[in-house]
């Protein structure tokens, strides 16, 4: 049924959007292609799983703390791997290679530690009740996912556009040297941005974990490719674009899986990516750079 697929697609797409927002923030402000970002997604889900199983925390706390843990990991990884590269203005290729190596190491270490089998939240952790409207079924988890996503997107928007820290973040995104001349402590803002983007990625991981109730260390890997597809389709560094492209991608994937074949899902995502780059290289919503007079 189409309505059901659209709802499922919206839910999936919301998590894609959330994940991509963190990625686009990281790329847009810090100007590095940080491939460890997908790992934060796994960290969020794995920490949430541990909190639910071993500590027995309720679902809201698990979502929040999973995100915070991923944010902290992001701060540490960025500090260790990229601070020096940024300081020497090493450019994009070194950061790409360093983070590629690091993310493979991080995935395999966590696989050695936690195993690669799919793990699930405890029975009854996820409330399976649902609203039913005719044949349409909307579960509480789905509502939670959409609400958390839109709440975080709203908070991110407020942070960037209505706070002093947000003003500093946007200044850094545009021009690092001039940001320094304004008295902005760039190192401190980099930590804030790493934390926020790690948190967004981590919460995305928790939500996807809840949605499919299937968690394993490598889950961030395929997500990373989707994240790139979303931010490129939406336009690099464009929050609104990432949001729309994420939701669209989720919907297309669900519709493809149910009307064509679930193995065609990936083809849709990357087909959309290729077509976007072909026809609109700056992304569907990408603005041209504002010209400096």
């Amino acid at each position: 049924m189409l309505a059901q697929q659209l709802v499922n697609g919206l839910v999936l797409g919301a998590t894609y959007a959330l994940f991509a927002l963190g990625l686009t923030l990281m790329f847009g402000v810090l100007r590095v292609i940080n491939l460890t970002y997908g790992f934060y997604f796994s960290v969020g889900a794995l920490v949430a799983l541990w909190l639910a199983r071993s500590v027995g925390l309720p679902i809201w706390a698990v979502v929040l703390l999973g995100g915070v843990a991923a944010g902290l990991v992001a701060v540490v990884v960025d500090g260790v791997l990229l601070t020096r590269l940024r300081r020497t203005k090493a450019g994009e290729l070194p950061s790409l290679m360093v983070t590629l190596g690091a993310v493979l190491a991080l995935y395999s270490l966590s696989a050695i530690w936690l195993g690669t089998e799919i793990q699930r939240f405890p029975f009854d952790f996820v409330d399976s009740s649902a609203f039913e409207i005719g044949d349409l079924r909307i579960s509480l988890v789905q509502i939670l996912i959409v609400c958390v996503t839109f709440a975080l997107v709203g908070l991110l928007f407020v942070l960037l556009h209505y706070t002093r820290v947000g003003l500093m973040i946007r200044a850094l995104a545009e021009n690092e040297d001039t940001a320094r001349l304004m008295g902005i402590n760039v190192d401190a803002i980099v930590i804030v941005v790493s934390f926020v983007s790690g948190l967004l990625g981590g919460v995305g991981g928790v939500l996807i974990g809840l949605n499919f109730n299937a968690i394993q260390p490598f889950m961030g890997e395929t997500m990373m490719l989707r994240g790139f597809a979303v931010i490129i389709i939406g336009g690099l560094g464009d929050i609104r674009g990432a949001l729309i492209a994420g939701v669209l991608l989720g919907m297309f994937e669900v519709l493809t899986a149910s009307y064509i074949s679930s193995s065609a899902k990936e083809a849709v995502a990357f087909g959309a990516l290729v077509l976007t780059l072909w026809f609109r290289p700056t992304g569907l919503f990408g603005r041209k750079e504002v010209k400096r007079a």
């Binding site: 021009n175 008295g183 902005i184």
Partner: protein, 238 residues
């Protein structure tokens, strides 16, 4: 020795190329000092060294009795050295108002902030008309005013102006120099880097001539402007 800004033996390099080869420089409080020289003489490099954007290879910089050699740029800015960078460097995707707020970050949302903002908008009425516009859509002259206003929002003790007239239409050049003269009248201490040597020397108290990374001449602006070497090299055709 002045206890305001004093630079001694300053060397600055980009990678292996040494652009500034050991210069001494002094700025007294309330003075307008200009640094003139040809393209590539090391003027902008000197400015970037003073504001902390470029690490010093050797030498020292003292400001208000403190050693600020190799202090991070944001600390130098917070101490009151405000640079208006070459090419203006306004935040193009932000509004004029947001650009001004960034200049006044350290005073936050206080009465002080609002007073400074009003003073800047009174000085540059064009900016008041364009408060909600993106800075990228302003003309070059307006952007220069914004860059100046943004620096003034920081309540500068020392203003570093790097080529404020560069790339501007003649009418705007005149206006920018008028603004610099006004700032001087108000007692702002300014270190001015200019290719337009004539205009810079007219406005300055003291002048330095920079050639290939070395100071080759210095003195009161009124004397430097009459120096035959300066006339030949920088003022000849004007």
């Amino acid at each position: 020795m002045s206890d305001f800004l004093s630079v001694s033996g300053l060397r600055l390099s980009y990678g292996r190329t040494e652009a500034v080869k050991g210069i001494d420089l002094e700025v007294r409080q309330g003075a307008v000092v200009c640094l003139i020289g040809a393209n590539g003489a090391g003027k902008t490099t000197t400015m970037r060294g003073l504001s902390g954007l470029l690490k010093t290879a050797a030498g020292s910089i003292r400001f208000c009795g403190e050693d600020i050699t190799n202090a991070p740029a944001h600390k130098i800015a917070r101490m009151g050295i405000r640079q208006v960078p070459e090419g203006r460097q306004v935040f193009a995707e932000m509004t004029v108002d947001e650009n001004l707020s960034l200049g006044g970050l350290q005073v936050g949302d206080s009465a002080d902030f609002r007073r400074r903002r009003e003073a800047v908008l009174d000085r540059f009425p064009r900016l008041r008309e364009r408060l909600t516009q993106h800075a990228g859509y302003l003309s070059g002259g307006e952007q220069q005013m914004l860059a100046l206003g943004r620096a003034l929002m920081g309540g500068p003790k020392l203003l570093l102006l790097d080529e404020p007239s560069m790339g501007l239409a003649p009418l705007f050049v005149e206006e920018i120099f008028k603004i610099v003269a006004d700032l001087r009248q108000d007692g702002t201490t300014i270190l001015l880097v200019e290719q337009n040597a004539q205009a810079a020397l007219e406005i300055a108290d003291h002048a330095y001539v920079l050639e290939s990374g070395r100071i080759t001449l210095e003195g009161p602006a009124a004397e430097v402007v009459n120096d035959p070497r300066v006339i030949a090299a920088y003022l000849g055709d004007h």
